[in-house]
């Protein structure tokens, strides 16, 4: 198999004649399975379509050896990016070898074994450093207008002495002295005292976050009360602040028995206390499990689908998070009140609500760069435990939970209601999700900033953000309108239940037969790119014409021309995107040549060659006549990868 791009030297194990079964139909393809140090690779033998599937070991959530069948030994692999592959390996011994190697490979015991430490995108140190400097949180707080006359930067946590899981730089009210901060932190779970996360400049209202108070049944702490007072005082627009406990009341009550709990309204002056009712990480984990179980069922009926969707509770949880974020945004933007958000430890639900609330309030977070900043701020720096939640290392199954996935889904639900509000499309969200689990980049490794510093991630790994920005054009939302942000600075989504939909492109991103066969997004994105090129061509032609002394009317650009030329688009990033044939690539290059007759329908001609996918009836799940009706002409569908693996070669 010379054409395979697998470097032979890395290839540890090769098994031929392996069958890959489709998850939802009876279709199967035969190919070769390669096991390398970082990937499991399946290469289809059929030379015409030759699809390749690259699975990063870190993506594998579980490997299961099913009982022996006549055709071989089945191996079922479930991935954290919701890919499920089902191999049938002819020889039982091969199967066992792969199975046991995978088991070993997918449970790294030390951080050094993670892919990020061996991944090399062929960048030099300077590029790497620049990548890490892309997101600057100090600049972000400056953008919000902090420090200001009411809020200041405190150095109390410079050495991670007050709170291990917080970042070094924290913003607190000017009136909160060090003793107050330290006192408050002692009264808060894990020392996570109230700090600023978002400042709504227009009303001088602050969004603060912390963990639950150690109030038990009656304990109180004057410093903590002062701290809240200080937050309240820093905002002259409102006499009170909201304290949002994002947990269900019952959970908060139960915590009191363990010496934790929630703020007593009698002890704190001018607070309005509110429970929100988002469930804990264990409920969320179970919910996703149920959801995936239902969605993975073969020949699922509509009834089972809807009942399963309801019983999993997944959309209910998504809606609860959204409701909380909307409450937060309203309190800040309409009432002008500051809000303090917490849950138990203040790194799961709190992160969800603060991040989503900020996104509703501030159009900047709806841009590609701004969204990165938001994740960096509310998730990475404030210590969302990515390593534990995403099961990166030495797993404790009780700590794993799809908290961040839920946040991404909430954003997606918003993009559905406000298609022009976001600079990015859902593929951006999906790609981020992919890399939160891939451990290919350093950003999400570890549980806190301190841990990341200890791991020297900035020196030893690369930043995802630089990578995503370099292929930004794949994640653009073609109908994004910056003017929408001006007319809708604050998003007010409807919370009617029917607005919350199942995110098929996330949970079935690898089940291609379920997707629309023609992608509007891809189509319009291509047109928009072509518009930009054409504008350039028009300009160039005009300059040429002027040399002949012909005056031309200036073309009024309807979209401002971009200054930089686009890097070639990786062929595979957008699902539903057809691979550009070599001929087309050639044509696109030709377009730069002036003087040729433009093809009458240049971008449309891509359409001429655009394959309509799913030309096979059998892959669509209505193969009622399976015994007698074998499908004869399978379409040459090439499974498109999310480009993760290809970088390594």
């Amino acid at each position: 198999m010379e054409h395979i791009r697998t470097p032979k030297c890395v290839s540890k194990y090769v098994v031929e004649q392996v069958k890959l079964l489709d998850r939802f139909s009876n279709k199967s393809v035969t190919g070769t399975l390669h096991l390398t140090a970082t990937h499991l690779i399946f290469v289809e033998s059929n030379s015409t379509s030759a699809q390749e599937i690259w699975i990063l070991h870190h993506h594998i959530a579980s490997v299961e050896k099913l009982s022996l069948t006549t055709s071989g030994c089945p191996l079922l692999i479930q991935c954290r990016n919701f890919r499920v592959v089902h191999f049938v390996i002819p020889r039982e011994r091969d199967c066992h070898d792969i199975y046991s190697s995978l088991l070993r490979l997918l449970r790294p015991v030390s951080y050094d074994e993670l892919y990020a430490f061996s991944y090399n995108p062929k960048q030099n140190d300077q590029q790497r450093e620049e990548g890490w400097q892309l997101i600057d949180l100090a600049a972000e707080f400056e953008r919000m207008g902090v420090p200001c006359d009411q809020w200041q930067l405190t150095d109390v946590n410079r050495e991670y002495k007050v709170c291990e899981t917080y970042p070094r730089d924290l913003y607190v009210p000017i009136t909160a002295s060090k003793p107050i901060i330290v006192g408050s932190s002692k009264f808060r779970s894990k020392g996570r005292f109230p700090v600023l996360t978002y400042f709504y400049q227009e009303k001088k209202a602050a969004v603060c976050r912390c963990s639950q108070p150690l109030s038990g049944f009656s304990a109180r702490c004057l410093e903590d009360e002062h701290m809240l007072q200080a937050i309240s005082k820093s905002n002259h627009n409102s006499r009170y602040i909201y304290v949002m406990d994002t947990r269900p009341k019952l959970n908060a009550l139960a915590n009191r028995a363990a010496g934790k709990g929630y703020e007593n309204e009698d002890n704190y002056s001018n607070i309005r206390f509110q429970f929100v009712g988002i469930e804990n990480i264990h409920v969320m984990r179970g919910s996703l499990q149920k959801l995936l179980e239902v969605m993975g069922t073969r020949s699922l009926s509509m009834t089972d689908y809807l009942v399963g969707l309801e019983n999993s509770g997944w959309l209910r949880h998504i809606k609860a998070i959204m409701d909380a974020a909307i409450f937060l945004a309203r309190a800040v933007t309409v009432e002008g009140a500051s809000v303090l958000v917490h849950c138990s430890d203040g790194w799961d639900r709190t992160a969800q609500v603060c991040a989503l609330g900020s996104l509703l309030m501030d159009p900047y977070y709806r841009t590609i760069k701004g969204f990165m900043v938001l994740i960096e701020k509310d998730w990475i720096s404030f210590g969302h435990k990515f390593a534990d939640r995403c099961d990166q290392l030495d797993p404790d199954p009780k700590e794993v939970s799809p908290i961040f996935t839920q946040f991404l889904e909430c954003v997606w639900q918003l993009t559905e209601q406000f298609p022009q509000a976001f600079e990015f499309s859902e593929w951006f969200l999906i790609q981020i999700h992919e890399h939160v689990h891939s451990c290919q980049f350093g950003n999400f490794l570890g549980n806190s900033q301190r841990q990341r510093e200890d791991l020297q991630l900035k020196e030893r790994t690369y930043s995802l953000w630089a990578h995503l920005l370099s292929e930004k054009q794949n994640y653009l939302n073609p109908v994004y309108s910056p003017s929408f942000a001006e007319s809708h600075p604050v998003l007010e989504p409807s919370t009617q239940a029917y607005h919350f939909k199942f995110w098929r492109n996330m949970y079935h991103q690898y089940d291609r037969s379920m997707h629309p066969r023609q992608s509007i997004l891809k189509h319009v994105l291509t047109l928009k790119e072509s518009n930009r090129e054409l504008e350039g061509t028009v300009q160039a032609l005009k300059t040429k014409l002027q040399k002949f002394g012909v005056s031309t009317s200036p073309l009024k650009p309807q979209t401002p021309p971009r200054e930089r030329s686009l890097p070639p688009r990786p062929q595979s990033l957008i699902l539903g995107a057809p691979l550009l044939s070599r001929k087309e690539v050639q044509q696109e290059e030709d377009e730069e040549v002036i003087g040729e007759e433009a093809r009458e329908d240049a971008p449309a001609s891509t359409g001429g060659e655009r394959t309509v996918e799913g030309n096979s009836a059998t892959e669509n799940g209505y193969g009622e006549l399976k015994e007698s009706f074998g499908s004869k002409n399978e379409p040459s569908v090439v499974t498109l990868e999310f480009g993760v693996a290809r970088m390594t070669c």
Partner: protein
């Protein structure tokens, strides 16, 4: 000082004027008339009639100055029609007009104005030029509810297009009168009193929709591909099969006598006829009603011969029975049944489970109720959506259609589709299969032809099925959203192949609206026979006459369309099927953001075309200059 009746008159004129006159200058002139006439406090009705007559008198001079004699004749005809219209319905209209009525619609500002009832419309006008008037066909009203708070009455009007509006009417008596008038006018029994018989188009009919899709034309196309078929006139007087058209495509070798015998063996006389010819491999799809085998297993040699005639030598075909085997068995007791393998050895029977009409109607009612539920609870919504079963029906119908298409295209086998009567689920399957198989059906014209062929001429009883919609209080008779389900399935395919259809979602929604209430006669009647009897093609305007005008068509064009000659296989996984929000949540959500995004997309596409043209013309210009210059440069 103004005479007491003048205001009354003015509004009377105004109403008549807006009724028929869209031409603004004409409208202004008519309004001026009111200053010349003074009538003392006469009831509005009389005034309206008088004004109508007055307009008739005045019109020649008014119109002549604008558009000439031809127009005048048209106007006159229209006005006289209306005068007659008003007389006929006068007794049903107890209170024709109420002032100070407040209209509430979701996501729109409230409008205060004058409510008027005419024979066919409920009109609310604020009498300000910039606000939109509400014009509602009585036929569109599904049911109404009355409520009273003190002397303020409220009428909640629930429409067949699923919209719900609220009218606050001051005065209890007026409110009761209006309510009972609406009830009477919206449930007129006689077809000939329907609006299409009174409607006169304000546009010039360039292409008469009634003549657009005649069976002879379709047969010509077929003849160009195969000579195996003939057009039979056996049903010329609709006596062999009342629900079939007069011309039917049948196998060449089967004579009319055999057809009659086969008809007597099929429910309602619906013997197997050609529905679709698959050019690619010459396979066909036929449709029929169930065979009348009964409990003792009757057979009919002619029927067997008829369908065997469609098979090539040595080939097998598939019979798709849209009912489950259990339902088909039960049908035997009532004289129906299904084809026995023994008698049809060349055919393999497959049973599917598409529900019957009353089940579908119930499903629609439940779905709409779920969509209108204002509770924000996720669980409640999902369980109600599930309980409505609507999405299950969509999945089942699509699956069956895909199966039929698969048999034809992938297996190279001919197919016969039937359910019980062959007028509902059968047509859903045959028409959807054609959309999957035949690229022509995905154009606007082709889709119109498909509806004409597979629904109107095939005898889907539109009038019965669409008599009431989801808000009906009465006992369902034979209402069922069979056609709406078909449109929903088309929408699902459109969602999955957004670039393969010439029309957009609006086109489908428009069709849904017109099947339930329309100014056009297209969907009146239950069969071709009934339509002939009603003389629809002479007395009413065809929907297609209006839709196919370029200025209307524009709204229905899909900017993403690129002709695609492939067979398109949709996914029928539940995860791939969505709720058709454009219909079911249409009035429950604000679509401003979605519409703007759509506009932006259209803008990108159009700008691209513009740029293409620009580049081409510049290149041509440049090339020209270069060839002119070349001789000078080369030496």
């Amino acid at each position: 000082m103004e005479a007491p009746g003048a205001t009354c008159l003015r509004s009377g004129i105004r109403i008549c004027a807006v009724l028929f006159v869209t031409n603004n200058s004409l409208r202004r002139k008519l309004e001026k008339l009111s200053t010349f006439v003074s009538v003392t406090a006469s009831p509005w009705m009389e005034v309206a009639i008088k004004v109508a007559i007055l307009i008739q008198i005045c019109l020649p001079s008014v119109v002549k100055s604008n558009n000439g004699v031809e127009e005048t004749r048209k106007w006159r005809c229209q006005v006289s029609c209306t005068a007659q219209n008003i007389m006929e319905f006068a007794e049903l209209i107890k209170t024709p007009r109420v002032d100070g009525v407040v209209l509430h619609r979701p996501f729109m500002p409230t409008v205060e104005g004058t409510l008027c009832l005419t024979g066919h419309h409920l009109i609310l006008s604020s009498r300000q030029d910039n606000t939109e008037e509400l014009w509602l066909l009585h036929a569109n009203i599904d049911s109404i509810e009355k409520r009273f708070i003190g002397s303020l009455g409220t009428i909640i009007v629930k429409c067949k297009d699923l919209r719900v509006i609220q009218l606050d009417i001051p005065g209890m008596e007026e409110c009761l009168n209006i309510a009972s008038s609406i009830e009477a006018l919206s449930t007129l029994d006689s077809v000939s009193l329907m609006y299409p018989f009174f409607y006169r188009p304000l546009f010039e009919v360039i292409e008469d929709g009634w003549q657009l899709f005649v069976p002879e034309e379709a047969f010509k196309d077929l003849e160009s591909m195969t000579d195996e078929w003939r057009l039979s006139e056996v049903n010329k007087d609709f006596s062999v099969c009342p629900s079939y058209p007069s011309l039917l495509t049948v196998p060449k070798d089967i004579d009319d006598e055999s057809l009659c015998k086969a008809a007597s063996f099929r429910h309602g006389g619906r013997f197997p006829v050609l529905s679709y010819y698959h050019k690619k491999n010459g396979m066909v799809m036929m449709r029929a009603a169930q065979p009348l085998t009964g409990t003792n297993g009757r057979r009919c040699k002619e029927d067997e011969k008829l369908i065997n005639a469609t098979l090539c030598a040595g080939k097998r075909g598939y019979i798709i029975d849209t009912r489950t085997i259990a339902v088909a068995q039960q049908a035997k007791a009532r004289g129906g049944g299904f084809e026995q393998e023994a008698n049809y050895p060349q055919w393999r029977r497959i049973h599917k489970a598409i529900e019957r009409s009353n089940v579908l109607q119930e499903s629609l009612i439940k779905l709409v109720e779920a969509c209108n539920d204002q509770s924000h609870s996720m669980d409640r919504w999902l369980s109600k959506l599930e309980a409505s079963n609507w999405q299950s029906h969509v999945k089942e119908i699509l699956t069956t259609a895909c199966l039929a298409a698969q048999c034809i295209d992938r297996e190279g086998a001919s197919v016969l589709v039937h359910g019980t009567e062959g007028t509902d689920s059968t047509l859903q399957v045959t028409s959807l299969a054609q959309i999957i198989l035949d690229p022509a059906c995905r154009t606007i014209r082709g889709f119109e032809a498909l509806i004409e062929r597979e629904w109107l001429q095939a005898g889907h009883p539109f009038q019965q099925r669409c008599a009431q919609s989801a808000y009906s209080n009465g006992k369902p008779r034979s209402e069922a959203p069979v056609f709406l389900l078909f449109l929903d399935c088309v929408w699902q395919i459109l969602r999955q192949f957004p670039c393969s259809f010439q029309f957009n979602e609006n086109f489908l929604i428009m069709l849904f609206e017109h099947t339930y209430a329309s100014q056009f006669g297209t969907f009146l009647g239950n069969s071709v026979g009934e339509r002939v009897k009603l003389q629809l093609s002479q007395k009413t305007v065809s929907l297609w006459s209006w839709v196919n005008r370029p200025q209307e068509m524009e709204r229905f064009l899909n900017p993403l369309y690129e002709p695609n000659n492939l067979v398109i296989w949709p996914s029928v996984a539940p995860q791939s099927l969505l709720l058709w929000e454009g219909v079911f949540l249409r009035w429950n959500r604000s679509t401003k953001c979605l519409d703007e995004a759509y506009q932006e997309m259209v803008h990108i596409i159009e700008y691209n075309k513009e740029l293409q043209n620009k580049v081409n013309s510049l290149r041509r210009q440049l090339a020209q200059l270069e060839t002119e210059d070349n001789p000078l440069q080369t030496p």
